[in-house]
Amino acid sequence: MNFISGYSRIHQGRLITPKETTVFAAADFHDFLEKAYDQLALAYPKFYKMDPLSRLGVLASEILLRETPVSNYLPDEVAVVLSNAEASLDTDLRYQATIATAPSPSLFVYTLANVSMGEICIRHGLKGENAFFVSPSFDPQWMSRYVDLIMMQDQVKACVAGWLNVLSDRYDVFLYLVEKQKRGLSEIHSAETLARLYQ
């Protein structure tokens, strides 16, 4: 059995953790990202080079891993398993608009959804295993089954998992940390728990 130690949710102008909900009076999605970055005092200039999917991933992982740090593990011991509905379509559309004139290499590198996972790994120095799945909506059954399977390996001690989706100004993020023993939130890692926390 594995346990959920904490989560972070970014949805409808809010940053949500088990402890608190922060509401932003933001003019639009871009403004929201800026305000969230300021609120977290992130000091990570690379953030501004990233596409919205990666920015959301970095924000959500920052909130999650500040409350439940994984620094007690080796880099190789922390896995990341993410999923979403739109893959990188949000950035695909922006890259497509550059093709006729001057194809943008800095946009093209973000036309893969798993690059957001790469950004999270770089930010937090996570070198464990990765997987990126695409499903119509957050699928607690599949995610809990797959994460439980990879956690059976001795070398996987913790897993940052969840849902990271954006298209235009519609965004929905739910990241959580799974560990082999109870800590923080200490909820049982199951499809039922994930469905309840995601609501």
Binding site: A85, Q96, T111, N114, V115, I122, F133
Partner: protein, 372 residues
């Protein structure tokens, strides 16, 4: 208490059948024969709808077979070939699509087309065959290898009895212009691990593998695998290769195989300066640098989300035929540590192959296929 892994009964996962659709043929056997004869799908295309400037690429000439798109058409053909004559109860079978960009070519003419969505396209293909359990793996250039490993894990844990993994990629202006903007394409056909290598040749392919917890006629199994992230750069590989090496070590451990039992390596070998150097270093870190090695990119080009499955299928047929396939385009080593690149077709007893892959986002994969 966490349940120790040893308490869970794990099944062996067998390879039942496979299929490749590429410019080299419309079945695995046709593709394998072409490869062992030294034929390449990579051609010089002076004029192409894909690029304003000439490119070397391995392109499939098949048109879309309506109602499917071109991408879906080759995926459907690959699945149809692979499942022909097999009994696969749909409630016990998982269908997994691996691709990086799917129907992205539609974004130009019809950006609101629902099946640009990878999941929508996967469902459309799955429904054609009556598969109801569908999953999509989209993890850059390790997608194919990862999809095979996801299937292996689900079957080993007895979550399903069978898996149909199909991996496909077609090229579009979207993809070609992107690699051109990164200056990643080779002006000539790619030359993996060679001193004169100058980059990637892109390719189109679809490939399908049926896996099962019940052994079929073939004596092949997907023994295990490992994965890792470089946590270094989103579009350049690790400078040390240590992270790919960790994935290789996990693959060996999970397969209960030692380095001396690996008979050959099917490398990612994209023929970029940095990828091949990183891979060579990783093989040294894992102390597997003596094993004969090839990259199949010289035959198929880099088929992106299809590569792991296409190359694993050729590797499986090489195991069955006991043939080492030469690495096309290789003359002399252009990496800083020793590598044992295969230059001539050679018959020898082969039982185990290590397949590696790496991709944007810093991801690495290693899987081990074994002949029993």
């Amino acid at each position: 208490m966490a349940q120790p892994a040893g308490c869970v009964a794990m099944s062996d996962v067998w390879i039942i059948s496979d299929s490749i659709i590429s410019p080299l043929g419309n079945s695995s056997v046709e593709n394998y024969d072409a490869v062992r004869k030294g034929q390449s799908g990579i051609k010089f295309h002076e004029t192409s709808t894909l690029s304003k400037t000439p490119i070397h690429a391995s392109l499939i000439t098949t048109e879309a077979n309506l109602p499917f798109t071109r991408f879906e058409s080759i995926a459907v053909d690959a699945v149809a070939n692979a499942i022909d004559g097999l009994v696969l109860p749909r409630d016990k079978t998982i269908f997994i699509l691996s691709t990086t960009k799917g129907n992205i070519e539609l974004i130009d003419s019809n950006p609101k087309h629902a099946r640009i969505g990878l999941n929508e396209s996967a469902k459309f293909i799955a429904t054609h065959f009556g598969f109801t359990h569908t999953q999509v793996v989209s993890n850059a250039c390790i997608s194919g290898s990862l999809a095979l490993l996801v299937a292996q894990r689900m079957l080993a844990a007895q979550q399903f009895d069978h898996a149909v993994v199909v991996a496909a990629e077609v090229l579009s202006k979207f993809i070609v212009s992107g690699f051109q903007s990164l200056h990643a394409l080779s002006p000539d056909a790619c030359r993996p691990f060679d001193h004169a290598r100058t980059g990637i040749s892109l390719g189109e392919a679809a490939a399908a593998v049926v896996l099962s917890t019940t052994k079929g006629k073939r004596n092949l199994r997907l023994a295990g695998g490992g994965l890792s992230n470089d946590a270094n750069h989103i579009s350049g590989p690790s400078r040390t290769g240590k992270e790919l090496s960790v994935a290789i070590d996990h693959a060996l451990n999970s397969s209960k195989v030692s380095t001396t039992e690996i008979d050959f390596i099917s490398a990612h070998g994209t023929a970029t300066i940095f990828n091949d150097e990183m891979e060579a270093k990783a093989f040294s870190h894992s102390n597997i640098q003596h094993a004969p090695l090839h990259s199949l990119k010289g035959y198929f080009g880099h088929t992106l989300g299809a590569a792991g499955v296409v190359e694993s299928i050729i590797a499986m047929h090489a195991l069955e035929q006991n043939e080492l396939i030469p690495s096309m385009g290789f003359e002399s080593s252009g990496v800083s540590v020793p590598v044992n690149v295969v230059k001539k077709l050679e018959r020898r007893t082969l039982n185990r192959v290590l397949k590696t892959a790496s991709g944007f986002g810093g991801c690495n994969a290693a899987i081990i296929l074994e002949k029993i």
